[in-house]
């Protein structure tokens, strides 16, 4: 993946609009957060291969990281995005990583189901 290029990501988001797509959305602080810090607790949310259609996708810059929102008949958004890639399967992968390369949030869009 490479650092977000806002203009390019916006173009890619536009290309997936108004057609059925599959979404992968996750965020996590890891399975060991509480193990290493008893004051913390593990949090995460995960959805893979939800089929949705969005009418508008928007990327917004915020203090060096990015938020991406998809307007459906409801809403989908991810915060803390830092990197992106259009992979060989024409899937738009977006993710937020910390300084040690650990994934903290991901939002991915694909016309075909993500591999299980």
């Amino acid at each position: 993946m490479k650092a977000i290029d806002m203009e390019n990501v916006q173009t890619l988001l536009d290309q997936f609009a108004n057609e059925p797509v599959y979404i992968h959305l996750e965020t996590t602080n890891g399975a060991y957060a509480k193990h290493f810090d008893s004051n913390a607790h593990n949090v995460g949310a995960y959805i893979r291969n939800a089929e949705i259609t969005y009418e508008r996708g928007t990327i917004v810059e915020s203090d060096g990281t990015y938020r991406v929102g998809l307007k459906t008949n409801g809403w989908i958004y991810a915060e803390g995005i830092t990197d992106y890639e259009m992979n060989e399967n024409d899937q738009l992968l977006m993710a937020g990583h910390d300084g040690e390369g650990r994934l903290m949030v991901a939002l991915e869009i694909s016309r075909t189901p993500f591999k299980m």
């Binding site: 996590t28 994934l103 993500f114």
Partner: protein
Amino acid sequence: MVDFAKHEQVVIIYPHPDDESFGTSGTILNFRDAGVPVKYLCGTLGEMGRNMGTPFFANRETLPEIRKQELIDACNVLDMDLVMLGYRDKTLEFESKYEVAEDLKQRIEAADATLVITFYPPYAVHPDHNAMGAAAFEAVRQMDQDKRPEVWATAISNDREANLGEPDIVLDTESVFDRKLAAIKSHKSQAEGMLRKMQESSNFTGEYESALQRLRYETFYKVDVDQVDS
């Protein structure tokens, strides 16, 4: 202390590529050196791992294949058979414990296992660890008494000794530690962070020495599956 050669077949049951190398590879190597076959039933491919590297070597979609290859490499270092069970990382606790247990039972019986090594629920921190261990305990519980293998379980939670007491088996892995470290390093995506932290720590005395200090001893509890709740 442990008579490795008295066993005929060991079956390791853990959910993630690298669980075997960090916690149990010294034990596995001792069994293999004693001529005992070891089979690893690995639950998932660690698809939800978070380490993508600096610089990136993986993303969410490429990580499973990378970790699969790392697992194969580690099993080659450890000279053990590998079976990938095909469950999905972080979802094992949502599967039917009894279906997973039935699958494990058939594999344990087909292998004629005399020893099963798994995690000790609920003292294994990660939800997949606890779920895999619980299914493995259940699998053995479903077996005829006279066919049951011995069960050793790995506990890693901070409260393990308060609840379980001292482990029954404490194995010093120093004599095989060069190969244990090689197995761990096969899991590049998982070992990179630990190795970097080691190098940055104030008491770093070299990779081998620092790793030995942290990972020298492997501990297990002997479990009678009829005497535990999980």
